[in-house]
Amino acid sequence: MFNLTYEERRVILFLAGLALTGLLISFFIKMHPCPAGVTRIDTDSRIAKVDINRADYKDLRELLGLAPGLAEKIIAYRSACGRFKNLEELKEINGIGDFRYEKLKDLFFVQP
């Protein structure tokens, strides 16, 4: 049918091997996109902010990239004191000073 010489067989096997490898890589890239590429919040405050009263631990970690300790503290504060009424309340959490508050306030909003 193909009537291939040994050289041609080698070349075709090599190309088929390459195609199989490429397909496997493409398949795994589709199935497991890199973590940084999955979700993140944009710094543009016009568009993307997270409701601090609705975000759970996973959102805080994966969407906003907060440290595990800080995310736990925000969840614990909300459990203990109820909903955030304004973002200034973040300063009451142990470990969030003025400097960190300035960074965090752009990531959240409070749904009235």
């Binding site: 193909f2 398949f27 589709k30 944009d42």
Partner: protein, 481 residues
Amino acid sequence: MKRPLTWLVLSFCLGISAAGISGIPFLAAYGFGYIESQTIALSAYLAACIFFLLGIFLFRKPLWFNLSLFCCIFFLGVSTLRNCSTFPKCHVYNYLSYGKENIYTVKGIVIDQPQIKANKAVFPFKIRQIYFNRLARYACGEIRVYANTKKQLRYGDELLLTGSFWRRKYQHHKNTRNQDILPVLQVKSPLYTIKLNENKGFFLKRLALRIKEKIEETIFKRLSPVPAAIVDAMILGERKHIPVLVYNSMIKSGTVHILVVSGFNVGIVLFIIMLALKFIRLNRTLRIYAAFPLLVIYCLATGASTPVLRATIMAAVFMSAFLLKREPDIYNSCATAAMIILAGDPRKLFDIGSQLSFATVLSIIFLYPRIKLFLGSESLRPKYVKFLLNTLVVSLCAWLGTLGLVAFYFGTFSPVTVLANLFIAPQAVLLTLCGFSFIAAAFICPPAAYLFAHACELLVVVLIKTNALLIKLPGAYFRIY
């Protein structure tokens, strides 16, 4: 001559067809209930790997090696199509809800030249980020955008767009089977189109589109609207300006293919390039090296549609054969073109344009020498009778090759096509040559361009009149459904 590539492409196409038409499960274990695309892709991939390994073990046994190779490529075809229709987790489809009430903001890049119609820009858009519910996510995938904007948008612009999504519906589902129907983003207010950056695309495509823009500007500046639209379609493949009446009459006579950039145009461009390079006394090898990037630019400028891509690859294979001092074979070069196009996007196998393009080429290269031999046209004298008969035979071959596809997809049967092509095709050749000469003159010697412009206008009028006359013949065309 051996044609191994033809068989390989055939088995690859069989695999794609099997996956596309039937969606059969490839392992019995997965044969129950709903089978996910990923599962089929993985199963077929495993089968391809098994046959690949068998091929290695049976390397010295030709029959078994060939069988293993055939099966390996078959399953590779299945797997490629399934993988292609598997969307990554960050794909835009995973985030969309259609309807006016769902407002999204997307950031991404314009990936083709926008078409402007009454302050509306229509263009394909590659998404990088999507914003909704006050969250921003990295996303991938393509959408089509209908933006109400007066901004000058170009290929490669990075935009921030806000609007709602809807999905296009098609009446003829068989035409769009296995095709990627892009969701449409409707941007209603000009305020919602924000340009963030420019020149983000591929530089060669950017250059090609700039050249195309300049050529179009020249065509529409120096020709009246209808001839300009037809010359634009024949040289650059832009059909958006063609009057509906002219277009429909060409569909009826089966000569609409002349309004599409095809292998013929690529051939003419290659001929012009080679001739121009010959004038500057480059030797043949250098001419071939120089012609290749110029052909790629022409291919990109015309939108890299399948017929142009096929013709460009075939031309490249032919030129490479010369460089490698090998005898070129048209079946192998056609198979190479098919393999490259299908490896890039296996769904092209179900695309009407691709099917018609390959069917025409294959029917001409297969049937033409046989019919010519049967008729004994080689010994005919005088020469113009031989030329006319050969033209008729080419037209007949192309018609026979596409007869079934045209009837199936468009529901028309046009016996007048063979006769129409006998008259229209030579005029189209003249018009294309005249069009290229007109463009070359417009850039090199603008005053002389008017001479070619008038010739172009005359040829367009003759072409339209001939076509109108042909479709008035009794039994020229029939509607099947």
